[in-house]
């Protein structure tokens, strides 16, 4: 059975990629150790030499893209259940659009945060870490963190709402009185996306990029 699993194309691909990744890490680590060049592995150098703009824009990109992934996933799960259940019980389709709207809200949080964060990105004229200044570094890292925060929160919120909405649709198809109760669960699920947005706003509140 293991052989059957191994014969699967996915498994071979992922095994190969994992093997390549870990062997690269192992060999690089061994070389650093053998040649006593461990001092050249400098995380601080990496963080100060890389541009704050990279971090800021990664944050913006992740904010919107992860939120959209969450929303899309949720809609896909809910939508397929609504469509499937709607075949036997067509009355469910109008009421269950609420679940879709909850999923969509997550994507809207993501795009709002992405716009808010991108408005904070300003030009600065420094080129070395001293001339760039601590505030710009802080801005870059904050924007990255905020993007990550809102992105991942919305990702899992979207999935959560989607799965719950799917259950709601199918339960509604069986018994119409169940829908309202399950909707409460969905509301709790969508609150967590909102938490992510609030924290991201707090993170970027002190950001001031520029000279």
């Amino acid at each position: 059975m293991l052989l059957e699993w191994m014969m699967n194309g996915h498994a071979i691909l992922y095994t190969g990629v994992t093997l390549a990744f870990w062997s690269t890490i192992l060999i690089v680590g061994i070389c650093y150790t053998i040649f006593d060049l461990g001092f050249r592995f400098d995380v601080a150098w990496f963080l100060t030499e890389t541009s704050p703009f990279m971090w800021a824009n990664l944050g913006i990109g992740l904010a919107i893209s992860l939120s959209v992934v969450g929303a899309a996933w949720g809609i896909y799960i809910t939508g397929s259940s609504i469509i499937g259940g709607g075949v036997k019980a067509p009355r469910i389709k109008t009421k269950n659009l609420v679940s879709i709207i909850f999923c969509e809200a997550v994507a809207i949080y993501g795009i709002i945060m992405a716009i808010v964060i991108s408005n904070m990105a300003e030009n600065f004229s420094g080129t070395t870490p001293e001339t760039i200044g601590a505030r710009n570094y802080q801005a870059g890292y904050s924007m990255f963190g905020a993007g990550l925060t809102v992105g991942f929160s919305n990702l899992f919120c979207g999935i959560c709402v989607g799965i719950v909405g799917s259950g709601a649709a199918l339960a509604d198809a069986q018994n119409p009185s169940l829908f309202v109760k399950i909707l409460i669960v969905e509301i709790f699920g969508s609150a967590i996306g909102l938490f992510g947005v609030i924290v991201a706003i707090l993170q970027t509140s002190k950001v001031k990029m520029g000279d």
């Binding site: 996915h10 030499e49 890389t50 893209s65 067509p90 001293e130």
Partner: protein, 448 residues
């Protein structure tokens, strides 16, 4: 028996000609081929190694025993010019035997015992004649086939008959025709002697080589391959400061360029010899002061201490000071010039204006024009341990630049996202849980 002997002679002649072909590409000093054949048998000559040019001595040594056994008549065919190339060019050696211009010569070599000197060192036009004269003790008699038939030859004494043959010149005849005519003369002369019944030793050679391939002079000192680039200049030794007899600070740079203003231009301090007075050295700090005859003073201050996070000693070049005409400019280098204390620091370019590792300390406007540009700079202030070699050089250039790291990070992130998406799509399957081919198909109500 006779056929096999003729066959053997033919093979011998073609082998001789091919031998000429093989050897013709090698030698470049003046040389002339020489062929000897005789009605009597000639002693065998060990074949010379390829490229060997026989000297007159070797010819004399060979001929002496031949001539010693009684009186001989030697018929010398002296072509004005002869080289191996003529024989290969016109000898029909490339399978075109019918085009050969040396048919009589070939026939003679086939029918008589013969010996060849493929390359005889040539010194002067009359060398062979003089040698034969000396060996035989007879002076040469000029002849040609017509006079030869009228000549009475006394076989009881040594005779040297000399037939001069012309070589190709810019005459009306083509070279091949001329050589063919020479061959005819040769054939006629031999037949005359044969009809007379006189045993002879016949030699065919040239007065001078017709073609000398001159080699370009090979420089004798360099055998083997060498680079064609310009000769690298001698590397000057590093500047070493000794404290209590042991080397303490070492500095090497290809150029130590300083410029005070645009108009004065660059001065390379590395070309001058510095005075090291004022330099100090201790376990935690070192200072190298270079006083140059041109009045410049360059000083490097380094310090070393233990850093607890990385748990090792690091040294840094804290300041570089340049003093020109009483004015001192100070540059901070500790930001970028550092290395573990056991190693030296090396950088291709240490300057204060482009990717500057040296940053001006003060804001004095007049000093802002000053430029420092150290090229191929290596410095070590600690841990020399009595040796005068630099320790391992920690280079200022890292393996990946920050830009490469940024690109790698972003690309890998996008690749991860792509792979994740691909995985999700690839594991979508059509639901077949409720497939029941034998059961009734589902009924869809038409109304709610």
């Amino acid at each position: 028996m006779a056929e096999s002997r003729i066959h053997a002679r033919g093979r011998l002649f073609s082998f001789i000609l091919l031998f000429f072909v093989g050897l013709s590409s090698v030698n470049s000093t003046a040389q002339v081929p020489l062929v000897i054949w005789s009605t009597d048998s000639l002693p065998p000559l060990p074949s010379p190694s390829a490229g060997h040019i026989s000297s007159d001595q070797e010819l004399a040594v060979y001929l002496r025993p031949v001539f010693a056994s009684g009186p001989h008549t030697v018929l010398l065919f002296l072509q004005e010019k002869l080289s191996k190339d003529d024989l290969t060019h016109y000898g029909g050696v490339f399978g075109n035997k019918q085009d050969s211009a040396f048919k009589n010569l070939e026939a003679a070599l086939r029918s008589s015992s013969s010996v060849t000197f493929p390359a005889l060192e040539w010194r002067s036009p009359s060398a062979v004649t003089a040698l034969l004269e000396a060996e035989l003790g007879a002076s040469p008699v000029l002849a040609d086939p017509d006079t030869l038939s009228h000549l009475s030859i006394d076989t009881s004494v040594n005779n040297l008959l000399l037939i001069n043959l012309p070589y190709c010149s810019d005459s009306l005849k083509s070279c091949k025709e001329l050589l063919h005519d020479n061959d005819e003369v040769l054939g006629k002369a031999l037949s005359v002697l044969q009809t007379k019944g006189i045993p002879y030793i016949s030699i065919f050679t040239g007065q001078q080589p017709s073609r000398v391939i001159s080699e370009t002079a090979v420089p004798q000192e360099k055998v083997g391959r060498s680079l064609l680039q310009a000769v690298a200049p001698d590397v000057k030794p590093p500047i070493v400061f000794n404290s209590t007899g042991n080397p303490c600070i070492m500095l090497w740079a290809q150029n130590l360029n300083v410029s005070v203003s645009e108009s004065t231009g660059w001065i390379d301090l590395a070309a001058q010899t510095p005075n090291l007075t004022g330099s100090t050295c201790s376990s935690s700090s070192s200072q190298l002061v270079l006083r140059y005859p041109s009045g410049h003073v360059l000083s490097f201050s380094m310090s070393q201490r233990f850093y607890p996070v990385s748990a090792r000693n690091w040294f840094s070049l804290d300041t570089v000071e340049l003093q020109v005409g009483g004015v001192t400019a100070s540059y901070v280098g500790s930001r970028g010039i550092y290395a573990p204390a056991e190693y030296s620091f090396r950088c291709q370019s240490v300057n204060n204006f482009q990717n500057a590792l040296l940053v001006m300390n003060s804001t004095n406007q007049s000093l802002s024009q000053w430029r420092l540009n150290f090229i191929d700079f290596q410095i070590q202030g600690f841990s020399l341990n009595n040796g005068t070699n630099f320790s391992y050089a920690s280079d200022c250039a890292s393996f990946f630049t920050p830009a490469i790291w940024m690109g790698l990070l972003t690309s890998l992130l996008m690749l991860l996202i792509f792979v994740y998406g691909l995985h999700m799509i690839m594991q979508l399957n059509t639901m077949d849980r409720f497939d029941d081919p034998k059961g009734p198909s589902i009924s869809v109500p038409q109304s709610e």
